[in-house]
Symmetry: C2
Amino acid sequence: MASNKLARLVSRPVGMVKHDDFEIVEEPVREPGPGEFRVKVSHASIDPAMRGWLRDQRSYMPPVGIGEVMRAGAVGIVEASNNDAFKPGDMAVGQFGIQQYAISDGRGCYTVDPSKAPPERWIGGLGMPGMTAYFGLLEIGQPKEGETVVVSAASGAVGSIVGQLAKLRGARAVGIAGGPEKCAYVVDELGFDACVDYKAGNLYKDLRAACPNGIDVNFENVGGDIMNTILAQMNPFGRMPLCGLISQYNNTDLAPGPANFGSILVNRLNVRGFIVFDFARKYPEAARDLGQWHAEGKLKMREDVREGGVDAFVDTLNLLYSGGNFGKLVLKI
Amino acid sequence: MASNKLARLVSRPVGMVKHDDFEIVEEPVREPGPGEFRVKVSHASIDPAMRGWLRDQRSYMPPVGIGEVMRAGAVGIVEASNNDAFKPGDMAVGQFGIQQYAISDGRGCYTVDPSKAPPERWIGGLGMPGMTAYFGLLEIGQPKEGETVVVSAASGAVGSIVGQLAKLRGARAVGIAGGPEKCAYVVDELGFDACVDYKAGNLYKDLRAACPNGIDVNFENVGGDIMNTILAQMNPFGRMPLCGLISQYNNTDLAPGPANFGSILVNRLNVRGFIVFDFARKYPEAARDLGQWHAEGKLKMREDVREGGVDAFVDTLNLLYSGGNFGKLVLKI
């Protein structure tokens, strides 16, 4: 019988996540019980939200408990099953965690068609990150033809889809990303109208030049100085889906909020926080649309698949907070 | 012919508004031209938003220009008219400014029934402040039965109506005000369920005690530390109509934003800035409802009418920023 290598939380991180916060252990694989199946995990999704799941505070879901396997969306092949919806050989997506083998009762899981996209894409643009972009932009941002949509972390899993959906809606799509390589990718490969390099040091002016008619929708992923600069350039009645504040996630103290908060009042902005899980009842609709646009070649997706398996979890996660990944970050298990 | 005393802006204030920023002059009163009428102003509304109108920056309406009469909502009696909708003897409400006599073409003006309420009330709870409470709470806040609504500046023109409307909707109404006298008024006279004295120095704990089930709607009037404290106690899917940020209006530099900004994300709050003018097409509906509830004794209103006329404008305005008024602040002209 194979053994299962897994990453278990042993202490709550302070600041950046450290190797010591997890222990890597091997346990025997068990057989699935009644209604359960076992999946051999091939890829795990590495997401900014993970940092929040490690924090012991009131949030939209309970934190990962000390002693528990690290929570993660993942994809793999069903090996053994007592659940009719998941048959051996099926490719399945679910919250399988950072481990080589998972046992599941099927809640929150679904099967996908491996002929339509590689496994890592089913936890990226065709999975939760794609749906996050879909609901945040289309339901909350509601861009109209000719409006300007700005998205930070534009080459990332969510941002890359946001800009492409904005284009599909007839809006001007402006990305913000770090470095000339990512910016070129966002414009040349993804088809955004412009992409501003925040590392170039002239964010306010460069953003103004990229958005000559102001900003109607800001899909916010990062917070901090970038969000504050955007707030100063929002148009009246602009919308701001608040998806993430990744620049703040490793802070040990609360940072000051945006000094341009008053723009929300003066410009009558609508700022709305959301989590993709809030839209669970509409997943099938999003999956259908994203799958179709992907099949038609209208949605380009890029994954940054890292090797190293379970042992590499912490190092891979920390890439997100330094902008070290390029595309949807995935850990090969 | 009577002369018209008026307050004219001569320099843009830095920090608190000073006497030197205005000159008080007397000019001859002129006769109304075709389609115009002349009103003898009896009371002017003194509002927090005035500070914003004095600032030379992009906002929801152009700033008051140097050399112009100070903008103000006001009420008075029509004296002479070439406009069929406004007859001599009518009581009229409009943006007549800080002056004894105004000439108007009727745009944005309407007549009111002096038998139903005293003049100062038509620029208070039955005027723009009442409508501000109406649209902000009912259209944006959308309190449901049993939910908890918090409003800062609770004894003021807008806040006092917000809490009473929350009660009419079956919600728990919790005010925040400065000092025991205002808090007692808010509970005993206006019928709020509780009122927290922010000057007592235990805002977080006292607010927690007053809102044992958390906060579902925060009608935000003041910003700063009070808003930040409220953000930490918002319930998931809470709504936050953003009506004012009075604590920030006299700042010469941008203050930091709320450190608890992340609550908008984690709790999926909906924060929406608004200005009463955005709802202009629904004014008749609001006026009808407010007038009826007032007539039925369901809406109590209190005005703080100050003497001194045009000369007292600056001193009266500054009462707002020190919490020196008690009830809707009105300057008798």
